[in-house]
């Protein structure tokens, strides 16, 4: 399979890195070659954070080249335009406006909800998403995040069916 490029972006503290961990792990469990990369350190003190995930038969560079992201997931409205140049022509943007914040039981699970939305355009079977969430989140958070994931997925499917 040709390499799939996903960029997840937001602000420090929103769970960008956790989301990219789950995505990379799910792709890994699905048997793909995977590379995931981001910058840690000072960028986590409330500043802009973005993480690149690439998977396919064989991935070379761990960074998504500008203008080559197939999917861009953004957790914070102010970060959409900053990250838009990473998206290829015809790429899919999944922003926080997809969801009504009131519909999420815990706003901290927005990262996983938007992953659920992204899952509708990625070739990763459901069972691997679930296993990756379980492996990367504390057990007490499993049910909440499964619900958020399903909610995001349903919202994305509803939107695509109306477009």
């Amino acid at each position: 399979m040709k390499v799939k490029n996903i960029v997840i972006a937001g602000l420090g503290g929103q769970g960008v890195l956790k989301a990219s961990d789950i995505l990379a792990d799910a792709a890994f469990r699905a048997g793909f070659d995977v590379k995931k990369s981001e910058l840690h350190g000072m960028s986590q003190r409330g500043g802009s954070v973005s993480s690149d995930v690439r998977y396919g038969d064989a991935v070379l560079s761990p960074m998504v080249p500008p203008g080559e992201a197939d999917v861009l997931v953004v957790l914070e409205e102010t970060q959409v335009e900053i990250n838009r140049p990473t998206l290829r022509a015809g790429g899919v943007l999944i922003g926080p406006d997809l969801l009504d914040p009131a519909a999420l039981k815990n706003k901290k699970s927005l990262n996983v909800a938007l992953l659920g939305a992204a899952s509708t355009v990625l070739e990763i079977p459901q069972e691997h998403w679930l296993a990756a969430m379980h492996a990367n989140l504390a057990e007490k958070l499993h049910t909440l995040n499964e619900q958020s994931f399903a909610h995001g997925r349903a919202a994305a499917l509803a939107r695509s069916s109306t477009q």
Binding site: L11, G12, G13, G15, V16, L17, K18, D21, A24, D25, F28, D33, V34, K35, K36, S37, E38, L39, H40, G41, M42, S43, Q44, R45, G46, G47, S48, S50, V59, L60, S61, P62, M63, P65, P66, T78, Q79, E81, I82, N83, P85, A138
Partner: protein, 543 residues
């Protein structure tokens, strides 16, 4: 954890390889992007410990290697400057157990004060250097580094960069060693006592070792050849090699794993088979310069690509000879001092007092940003005290009296104590005021323990250094402990009064890091109840 494929960061891969290769001791000082190596090694069951600084970490590691143990010493690139003194002479010695020194470089300055290229250290100290391109190689090269280290009785530098340390890629581990030789000391004075009479022949031996390693590298070193078009040949190292493969998939490429001493024979043969040879390397043009010095014609990247990280797009530009201005990525939101930071009160006080602030390395460096703008210098770990004293010595009195040095607790233990010695020994005429911002952790790198917290790397209790007792014992004239939050302005009033005295002062502004505080309470409770603190480690506030 053996056998099955895993998705690991380069740091985790090094830790796993260290465990599998039978490392008996891992030492280091936290620093992005190296920190997770020792933390992971500890979580996997290895014996890992934070040292006060990188110099001590390397010295402890060297002792362990003299004793016959496989040893891992970790640090970020600037940490190797601190450890350079033991490094250069450790190169002359014969070690028994394999010794790996990790240099985790930060091209692009994701979280550092400079982007120095530590490949220079391999040449300067005359030590072999391995540079992996991904986590699999980070794993494999850790094993290989021990083999080289033990075969030639020489420390080996494993150089990682941010994108190797933190990128997660797939790793196929090998079987762990079942046993390693029991450490034991065998006296060998000429190999380990570096007085001139022994160091002179040791220097000759070192150069002989390097010549043998270079020949080995040519014959069977970790070199990958991708045969492609003869029109374009790429010789590449480190993470730049995978960018290059993606940027020019049809080119022929030679990827060098052991980048010092170089396999010049292999590179020369490769160069003769291609029309055009380009060196693709991040940072300084070290590979290109070395090949040119060896008489191998090679194109060097234009000067503009010395700065920052490389990526696929930049490698395409290098290959196209494109020196037009690069597109400027949109500016993101900069980091800031945490909204709830318990030390914001200190920066408000210093701002309101109009202080000239000699700052240091840590979260509190963010005090330079608005709304505080309360920092005037920041150079390296511990420099706040020396720089503050220097300013005090030469400035006119009215300005000199406004100078304070601000340093964090972990940084103070790392390199601030000698600054206090300097202050007591050479006090400026106006005296001086040093503030230790004690938040009870090494916050910026992710809340690691240090000798001032009274807890070990795994958060279990140990001896604790008291900064106030230390200041008094060293002869500082005024030593005060205050609450960093400064809700009642007592901190500001105290600093204001100390600035008028022509005496030496140490103010310890104490309040735990808000991010670390819940965990610190847990560790204290665990210590009181004598249970293992590690049960909490996986459930922390990190993300």
């Amino acid at each position: 954890m053996t056998g099955e494929r895993q998705l690991l960061s380069g740091d985790e891969a090094v830790a796993l390889a260290a465990l599998h290769a039978g490392v008996r001791l891992g030492t280091g000082y936290p620093g992005t992007p190296s920190t997770e190596i020792l933390e992971t090694f500890d979580q996997l069951g290895g014996h890992a410990q934070w040292s006060p600084n990188e110099k001590v970490a390397l010295e402890v590691g060297l002792g362990a290697a003299f004793g016959g143990a496989r040893t891992l010493v970790t640090m970020k690139h600037v940490g190797l400057n601190v450890a350079a003194d033991p490094l250069f002479t450790a190169a002359y010695t014969d070690i028994e157990g394999g010794l790996i020194v990790i240099s985790a470089d930060d091209p692009g300055l994701a979280s550092s004060q400079n982007e120095q290229d530590n490949r220079h250290y391999a040449r300067a100290a005359a030590l072999p250097m391995l540079e992996p391109v991904d986590s699999q190689q980070a794993y494999d090269f850790t094993w290989l580094a021990f083999e080289i280290s033990e075969r030639w009785k020489i420390p080996v530098i494993l150089r990682l960069t941010t994108r190797v340390c933190h990128a997660k890629t797939v790793v196929h581990p090998r079987a762990a060693v079942s046993d390693t030789p029991e450490p034991s000391f065998a006296r060998n004075i000429p190999a380990r006592v570096m007085i001139p009479a022994y160091a002179k022949p040791a220097h000759q031996r070192l150069r002989q070792k390097l010549a043998e390693i270079a020949a080995w590298n040519d014959a069977e070193g970790p070199i990958r050849l991708d045969t492609g078009s003869a029109d374009l040949g790429i010789v590449a190292t480190g993470i730049a090699a995978v960018h290059a493969r993606e940027a020019a998939p049809k080119a022929s490429q030679l990827t060098i794993g052991l980048t010092y001493p170089l396999p010049l024979g292999r590179i020369r043969t490769f160069a003769m088979g291609v029309e055009r040879l380009v060196a693709i390397e991040e940072g300084d043009p070290i590979l290109a310069d070395s090949l040119r010095a060896a008489g191998i014609p090679v194109e060097c990247k234009p000067e503009m690509y010395r700065f920052g990280e490389l990526n696929v797009a930049r490698v395409r530009r290098i290959l196209a000879g494109d020196t037009s201005p690069e597109p400027v990525p949109p500016k993101g939101k900069p980091p800031e001092l945490c909204q709830g930071c318990s030390h914001r009160g200190v920066f408000e006080a210093l701002r309101d007092l109009g202080c000239i602030v000699a700052g240091d390395i840590g979260c509190y460096t963010l005090g330079v940003l608005p709304p505080f703008s309360a920092m005037d210098t920041c150079v390296c770990m511990g420099a706040s005290i020396g720089v503050g004293l220097g300013l005090r010595h030469v400035l006119p009195e009215a300005q000199a009296r406004r100078v304070v040095s601000v340093i964090g607790d972990s940084t103070f233990v790392h390199s601030g104590i000698t600054g206090i010695a300097e202050m007591v020994y050479n006090p400026p005429a106006t005296g001086h005021v040093v503030l230790i911002l004690d938040n009870g952790t090494t916050a910026m790198t992710g809340q690691q323990e240090h000798p001032g917290t009274g807890r070990l790397l795994d958060h279990s209790p140990t001896g604790k250094i008291s900064f106030e007792a230390l200041g008094r014992a060293m002869g500082v004239q005024n030593v005060h402990v205050v609450n960093a939050q400064d809700k009642d302005q007592s901190l500001q009033d105290l600093v204001e009064s100390l600035l008028t005295k022509s005496e030496t002062s140490l103010v310890i502004a104490r309040q735990p890091c808000v991010l670390a505080a819940p965990k610190i309470r847990f560790y204290e409770k665990a210590a009181a109840e004598r249970i293992s603190p590690s049960s909490c480690a996986a459930d922390g506030a990190g993300q």
